[in-house]
């Protein structure tokens, strides 16, 4: 397994370089960001030139990229236009988004897998059909609708929660936003687990386990579930990266000052340093999450070996 991990890590290098270069070029194509810093008027040329120099924008793009990457390897992600270090922005926003992601993933696992198992074992019964229908509805309703609706009902009408999350964003405040963020994935996880369980429930090894006289819960958890989780794990693993970067909508609705919000602001202000920095970290998260998923296969299914 060791060599396999090393090979995978090495493969990450070109992916990482390519992804960052692409983002860097894309942000640069948007044009000169200094023009937007002076409001509805032209920056006086001398100040504009100084600002460009300060942010290194007066150099050719390739040189900017090389300088940037050089700095990144020493842990310096540059400075955003408001004078804050990008690393400082990351230090405040990544923990928040991470907490949100954890809440969302927990919902996916706890509710999604449980429901999926329950449905898979009762295939074709009213419960199964009912939940299938509900998941279909959840998948087809856009997140911002679910979010705004829950915010209005729970926050304003019934007063159960605060409609917005404070900047500290503790776990307790993130329950509803996490549920909203997880909703669509949760429905997918439910359906995936259900199908997988339903398929495997008729497999030989399950019948053997039952015939051996094993207790029902042991058959389900140790034999049936473990073998049925592979597609689910793949999905959830990919979802980690997706949830971290793709929470812009949920973060805006619930006033969560996380990665999505910082990225959104970075794009509006054309802050190359912020956007590239955050995307770079997200790319890393994606790559590592994928690697972990692949390694988990081996744990779940002993037949899979990496060399």
């Amino acid at each position: 397994m060791g060599p396999y991990v090393v090979r995978r890590l090495l493969q990450m290098v070109p992916v990482f370089a390519g992804a960052t270069l692409l983002i860097f070029l894309m942000v640069n194509v948007m044009g000169d960001p200094v023009a937007g810093l002076c409001g509805e008027r032209q920056c006086d040329p001398a100040t504009a030139a100084r600002l460009k120099q300060e942010f290194g924008l007066d150099q050719p793009v390739w040189q900017q990229y090389l300088t940037y990457m050089g700095n990144v390897f020493t842990g310096d992600f540059g400075t955003a236009f408001n004078g804050q270090k990008v690393t400082e922005l990351m230090a405040t926003s990544f923990p928040v988004t991470l907490r949100l992601t954890i809440v969302a993933i927990l919902f996916e696992i706890a509710i999604g897998v449980t429901l999926g198992v329950a449905m898979g074992l009762r295939r074709g019964r009213p419960v199964d059909t009912g939940v299938l229908l509900v998941t279909l509805v959840v998948i087809s309703v856009p997140t911002f609708v679910t979010g705004l609706l829950l915010q209005l009902l729970l926050g304003v009408e019934w007063g159960w929660i605060k409609p917005s999350v404070s900047w500290q964003a503790g776990f307790d405040e993130l329950i509803v936003p996490g549920l909203v963020l997880a909703s669509v994935s949760l429905a997918y996880v439910t359906r995936l687990t259900r199908t997988s369980i339903a398929e495997n429930a008729r497999a030989d090894y399950v019948r053997t386990a039952v015939a051996k006289g094993l207790p029902r819960h042991r058959v389900i958890v140790r034999h049936l579930l473990r073998n049925s989780l592979i597609p689910v794990v793949t999905f959830i693993g990919a979802d980690v990266g997706f949830l971290m970067g793709g929470a812009i909508v949920t973060e805006r609705i619930f006033n969560i000052h996380g990665v999505g919000y910082q990225l959104y602001q970075g794009i509006l202000r054309q802050s190359t340093q912020t956007v590239v920095g955050f995307v770079t970290v997200l790319v890393l998260v994606f790559l590592v999450a994928n690697l972990l998923v692949d390694l988990l296969y081996a744990v779940l299914d002993p037949r899979i070996r990496y060399a």
Binding site: V34, G36, I256
Partner: protein, 539 residues
């Protein structure tokens, strides 16, 4: 909320028992803190570097300058200035009042101002508002126009002559200069700023009615009343928590749910419900903001003589009344000149310079455009940035209005640009090919501020590069007038030149709007559309 009310009732009961203070009917808790929505300022929070409302909001709470604009009338009144004397409109002697300190105890002296202004004017300090000092002698040395190294660190026009007195020498006559001194860029700075700027930016120290209690960048700024504040406009509440919201809709929802006290930016999508939601706790007050359509005069097709008729025709094809009523729900007022009603009669505003040219008349529009030689290329494309300010809605409405008036479905289309920065880029690079959105929020309530920066040859916000010698001459003469009323009269004459040439199409005056919770009273917006925080009563 309920718990807090109880607690207050108890405190009141005790207080009544001890001294006979009035806790009932209308009595307010002067120690209570209110929360207000905020947006993350894009630039570091320092006086000469803040050029937008969100940062300006904070500066207006933690700083007091030589002048202060009256929140109701916009009149510039002496604040820290004891006297500002001049005989020629070029040389000024300024004396600072006694007894003012910064909230860290340091005295506010003439030097606090001179140092701050020198810092603001220094090119190496990268201050976005540096050009506010361009009238002061020596600006070309501290801020070389070619971006080269500055040859002086101090403005030669500034001299400290006493502990509380300094002189200012301008490079040209500028009679309304004292009235501009209420702008944030002219605020005094304590030594702490120069000694350790990074630490100061983390927790700014000023001389205003509030002091910064804590500041979490990008999230929350807690301001508390400064009890030793020497001015007359002491805060009437215990403090303000400014909370950054990712979206103004969320802030509004929080106001509805009782988690937020004040929203000073009611989202366009909520304007329909705001009256039923808030009743009389909704403010819709005029602000010094005007929206216009500017034209690229560097483009031959728009710059040639005779096109003023086409511009006037376009202006007459826009049904301002209908658009402000339906799209903006009366948060905008149809424009009738190039300034703003907040200036008042004294300040130079009057209804009518635009006259019939700002009145919708489809037949006249058609005729004028035909006389002027028709639309260049048979079509106008109105360029705007689509990322902020819901511009798409009104641009589409303006185009519909033009299309209907001219009876041509393709006479006008919107041309959205993705981001504000890109939009500004195209303007700076002179890449506009047709009319484009131009918004102007005043820096100080003077007619000069609505005309000179926007239409004077080569001015910083003259985005269309309009140039007219008559206009320039009148503005120069207005600035040289030492009598305020005569200066205003000259500016009005300059405005007539705008009218004759239809230099830009005035669209509407923008109001400031705000909503607040039942806890608050005495809430008002100043002409800069910023809530007058120090006057708000809580409870």
């Amino acid at each position: 909320m309920r718990g807090a009310t109880h607690a207050r009732a108890v405190v009141c009961a005790v207080a009544v028992a001890l001294v006979a203070t009035a806790c009932g009917g209308g009595g307010s808790d002067t120690g209570a803190v209110l929360s207000s929505s905020w947006g993350d300022p894009p630039n570091p929070l320092e006086p000469a570097n803040t050029n937008e409302v969100q940062g300006g909001k904070v500066l207006s709470m933690i700083f007091r300058g030589l002048k202060q604009y009256d929140p109701k009338t916009g009149e510039a009144k002496n604040m820290l200035a004891e006297t500002i004397d001049t005989t020629d409109g070029k040389n000024y002697t300024i004396t600072v009042k006694k007894g003012w300190t910064f909230s860290n105890g340091e005295k506010v002296t003439a030097r606090s101002f001179v140092d701050a202004w020198n810092y603001g004017a220094g090119l190496k300090n990268n201050q976005r508002n540096a050009y506010f000092f361009e009238y002061i002698d020596g600006y070309d040395k501290t801020h070389p126009a070619d971006g080269g190294k500055q040859s002086a660190d101090t403005l030669s026009g500034l001299k400290v002559v006493g502990d509380r007195t300094f002189t200012v020498r301008l490079r040209q006559k500028f009679s309304s200069f004292p009235d501009t001194l209420g702008y944030n860029a002219y605020a005094p700075l304590p030594r702490a700023f120069f000694d350790d700027r990074a630490a100061w930016l983390k927790k700014p120290v000023g001389n205003g009615p509030y002091r910064v209690a804590s500041y979490t960048r990008g999230s929350q700024l807690s301001l508390r009343r400064w009890d030793a504040y020497p001015g007359e406009d002491k805060a009437r509440n215990g403090g303000v928590d400014l909370k950054v919201y990712t979206d103004n809709n969320t802030a509004y929802t929080d106001l509805m749910a009782g988690n937020l006290d004040l929203v000073d930016d009611v989202p366009a999508s909520q304007l329909r419900n705001v009256r039923t939601d808030l009743g009389d706790r909704y403010i819709n007050a005029p602000a010094g903001i005007i929206q216009t359509l500017a034209f690229p005069y560097y483009d031959k097709r728009w710059g040639r003589a005779g096109m003023e008729k086409v511009r006037e025709g376009l202006s007459r094809a826009i049904n301002r009344d209908q658009i402000t009523r339906t799209i903006f729900r009366n948060t905008r007022t149809p424009a009738v000149d190039w300034t703003s009603p907040v200036l008042g009669k004294e300040g130079g505003y009057r209804a009518g310079p635009c006259g019939t040219a700002c009145v919708y008349d489809a037949a006249a529009a058609k005729r004028l455009i035909k006389e002027g030689g028709g639309l260049p290329g048979g079509q106008v494309r109105i360029t705007y940035n689509a990322d902020t300010g819901s511009h798409r809605e009104w641009v589409d409405a303006v185009c519909n209005s033009i299309n209907n008036a001219l009876g041509d479905d393709k006479a006008c289309v919107g041309n959205p640009i993705g981001t504000f920065a890109d939009y500004r880029n195209r303007i700076t690079d002179r890449k506009m090919t047709g009319p484009f959105r131009a918004g102007w929020q005043m820096d100080y309530p003077l007619i000069q501020n609505f005309l000179q920066p926007l239409y004077y040859t080569g001015a910083s916000s003259n985005d269309g590069k309009w140039s007219n010698p008559d206009f320039d001459r009148l503005v120069d003469r207005a600035n040289a007038e030492t009598d305020a009323a005569r200066a205003v009269e000259r500016f009005r004459q300059a405005e007539e030149v705008l009218r004759t040439n239809m230099a830009a199409i005035p669209l509407w005056y923008q109001n400031g709007n705000a909503g607040y919770s039942q806890r608050l009273s005495n809430v008002a917006l100043n002409p800069f559309s910023v809530p007058v925080y120090d006057q708000i009563k809580v409870g």
